[in-house]
């Protein structure tokens, strides 16, 4: 069965610290997608990144970076030099054909000034 685990319920750091959000997934398929979404206090769901199972290259986008490791079934998200505006709930999700998204429970990130 598919499953996504975000073990960190809440993380609190001081601004400018680096922070890593963990995501571990389970699937029996060889073809799948992994996603990260951000949900700021305003409530909308913002797409951050999509990774397919055949592409294990790490990705960097500004202060955001993602580390995908199939060997450990992990897709971790790092924010470098965190800012108060990064405060949000972050969700990791898995889908096998892009249709049914299996969601993690989310990690609430609090960045203190």
């Amino acid at each position: 069965a598919q499953k996504v685990t975000q073990a960190q319920t809440e993380i609190s750091v001081v601004e400018k610290e680096d922070v890593t959000l963990d995501c571990v997934y389970e699937t029996r398929d060889t073809t799948y997608y992994l996603f990260w979404y951000k949900q700021p206090p305003s409530g909308e769901l913002v797409f951050l990144i999509r990774r397919n199972s055949f592409d294990e290259q790490n990705e960097i986008s500004g202060r955001y970076s993602w580390n995908f490791q199939k060997s450990t079934s992990s897709f971790n998200f790092t924010i470098t030099a965190s800012q108060v505006v990064d405060s949000a709930v972050y969700f990791c999700a898995l889908s096998e054909l892009g249709y049914q998204l299996i969601w993690g429970a989310g990690t609430k990130l609090i960045i203190k000034p």
């Binding site: 409530g43 909308e44 769901l45 999509r50 889908s95 892009g98 249709y99 429970a105």
Partner: protein
């Protein structure tokens, strides 16, 4: 190009009342879905549609109905609302890159 739009943003219903949550997209996407988000439960899919005229049940369909008469619109109907349907509802469309993009959400309270 507005993407996925949802109306209303907020609504309060009394138990037993009916209501329709609206979802519209202007990206010509075939696949649309409805999710509900509850504290500690993550997002759960209610119903989905792969094309006009085709709908199917998701993980938590009871108490909800959907229809898809065209590509753009995918309304979600609550025939007889219950307090357990108090939630935040999101509509999402699937892009050609297999990424789901979400509407802004509807916060529904059933008293």
């Amino acid at each position: 190009n507005a993407g996925v739009t949802q109306t209303p943003k907020f609504h309060i219903l009394k138990t037993g009342q009916s209501m329709t949550l609206q979802c519209a997209q202007d990206m010509n996407h075939g696949y649309l879905s409805w999710y509900r988000q509850d504290p500690g439960m993550g997002l759960r899919r209610i119903h989905y549609s792969v094309a006009a005229g085709i709908t199917d049940k998701g993980e938590v369909p009871d108490g909800y109905n959907v229809s898809r008469s065209n590509t753009e619109d995918f309304p979600l109907r609550l025939e007889s609302a219950a307090p357990s349907q108090t939630s935040v509802y999101f509509c999402a469309s699937l892009s050609c890159t297999d990424t789901q993009y979400f509407g802004p959400g509807t916060r529904l309270t059933v008293l």
